[in-house]
């Protein structure tokens, strides 16, 4: 596993245009605790060059949010070749796909992240797997947040999972400072934010520092 245990990370997800993403990455302070996520829309719009073009401008750890649902071998190979350190697979994907995904990530020397978006009981999925992924992501989607305002992030699942499986925990879908604090309080290892980093502004650098302060 490339990511280190006993460290807390801020994952900044880039979901706008590739130019915007590159500009944001250039403004970020360098920290080993910042992970750069090449978001799903970027990968679908630009293909693997979204990853490789960001790769050449930063030494940071890159997460390719491929949201693999099938054909795991292809996804992992593509992501590793493009220079990412981690890829994501959907927890709702067939169990065969998740198993292949975890196995291939290990072979390729990158970290496996399983995204539990729209999974009621992540524990039940994890029990079915041959091996645990390096990271499990507790995730409330953007559309869910936008159209069902009362949907909560199930923070209680963090400890439930950590107590039963040898895996790190990431929380995605809560962009407010209070939500970040709650994630940390509940034992998250990684917190994913995107809203404040959708566009590059003069505050990009300070915002990243501010979030980083909360993540300890």
């Amino acid at each position: 596993m490339i990511i280190k245990r006993n460290r807390k990370y801020l994952q900044i997800a880039l979901n706008s245009t590739l130019n915007e993403a590159i500009e944001i990455v250039r403004k970020l302070p360098f920290s080993e605790r910042i992970l750069i996520e090449v978001g799903t829309p970027l990968i679908k719009i630009y293909g693997k060059r979204a990853i490789s073009e960001i790769r050449v401008i930063t030494p940071s750890y890159i997460v390719a949010d491929t949201k693999c649902a099938d054909l795991a071998l292809r996804d992992v190979k593509m992501v590793a070749e493009a220079g990412a350190q981690a890829a994501t697979c959907l927890g709702v994907a067939p169990v065969e796909t998740i198993d292949v995904f975890i196995k291939e990530c290990k072979k390729a020397g990158i970290d496996s992240m399983v995204d539990m978006m729209n999974v009621d009981q992540p524990i039940n999925i994890l029990r079915e797997l041959k091996n645990s992924p390096d990271v499990v992501i507790i995730h409330r989607g953007v559309d869910e947040t936008e159209f069902s305002k009362d949907k909560q992030i199930p923070f209680y699942q963090i400890n439930e999972i950590k107590n039963n499986f040898d895996t790190l925990l990431s929380v995605a879908g809560g962009d407010k400072i209070e939500e970040v604090q709650r994630s940390m309080f509940n034992g998250a290892d990684i917190v994913v934010v995107w809203k404040d980093f959708y566009q590059s502004t003069d505050e990009t650098k300070d915002l990243a520092k501010e979030f980083l302060k909360e993540i300890r």
């Binding site: 979901n15 799903t40 829309p41 990968i43 679908k44 719009i45 630009y46 293909g47 693997k48 060059r49 979204a50 491929t66 949201k67 649902a69 099938d70 054909l71 795991a72 292809r74 996804d75 593509m78 959907l90 709702v92 994907a93 067939p94 065969e96 796909t97 198993d99 292949v100 978006m117 729209n118 989607g141 953007v142 559309d143 869910e144 936008e146 159209f147 069902s148």
Partner: protein, 269 residues
């Protein structure tokens, strides 16, 4: 657009762009062919791969000299079928194809129908828009996605006039998903995943669901995916599916693509 009471063959392309170009070049000019820009292809090249595929198809009509003559930017949509046919007949290269294949003008697909296999899971508005801008005729959303995403996906597809495919990969009860939606997708895809098929031979293509869904929802068309043999493809066609999706068979026999397509089109007339 897709018509009822017709059987379509959807060919999913998952390999390199070079191979796609070659294979598109070999396909017969039928309006019962749907091309799917596969999920790995989109992730590798980006959605613009759809524009490229459309370009390969147009080359079948106009030949590779298009860019020089300015034909590349020609708006085919603006022409009626008869005008288009006349235009084509002026070109010797097409005249030959026209005569050899005895193509009736009504079966010629002028604008290729291309499905962007996005497997949308979130951010439906952004993804659907990107697909449409790249020239897709339809896009896919996962039945496993949050219901908010599926609703947003279908709404956006209706708004910008592309067809919505709902992919039921790994969904045990498609009915349950459909009953929660604000409006129905145009096409439901019944699916056995590639990894599922390889890791677990016992998992069957869910043919039995076709009749059940069609019996309950009049307006939904069914696409069936996951079959790997010619027999399975034809079975899908005979099981009342409107669209049969194939990939392995074609991707593994690139040289035989024309033959296999014609065999399918002939048998499912």
């Amino acid at each position: 657009m897709i018509e009822r009471n017709k059987k379509y063959l959807q060919i999913a392309f998952n390999r390199s762009l070079n191979e796609v170009a070659t294979m598109v070049g070999l396909l017969p000019l039928s309006d019962r062919i749907i091309i799917e820009a596969g999920y790995p292809l989109i992730k590798t090249y980006g959605v613009d791969v759809i524009n490229s595929i459309r370009g390969f198809w147009r080359q079948k009509f106009f030949g590779p000299e298009d860019s020089k003559s300015g034909m590349k930017n020609f708006k085919l949509e603006m022409l009626g079928l008869a005008e288009f046919r006349d235009l084509l007949l002026k070109k010797d290269s097409f005249k030959k194809i026209f005569q050899e294949k005895k193509i009736e003008d009504k079966t010629v697909a002028i604008n290729l129908y291309i499905v962007a296999d996005l497997k949308c899971m979130d951010r439906a508005f952004t993804e659907v828009e990107a697909a449409k801008n790249a020239g897709a005729s339809a896009a896919t959303c996962l039945g496993l996605a949050p219901v908010e995403t599926i609703d947003a996906f279908i709404k956006k597809c209706e708004e910008i006039k592309i067809d919505s495919f709902l992919d039921m990969l790994n969904v045990e009860y498609p009915f349950e998903v459909l009953s929660k939606l604000k409006s129905l997708p145009k096409i439901v895809m019944l699916h056995r995943g590639v990894d599922e098929g390889e890791g677990n031979r016992e998992k069957e293509v869910p043919y039995h669901q076709i009749e059940r869904i069609k019996g309950t929802y009049d307006d939904i068309l069914i696409a069936i995916a996951g079959g790997e043999t010619a027999r399975e493809a034809i079975t899908g066609g005979f099981n009342d599916a409107d669209i049969v999706i194939v990939w392995k068979l074609f991707n593994e026999n690139p040289g035989k693509i024309a033959e296999l397509t014609e065999e399918f089109l002939e048998k499912t007339k």
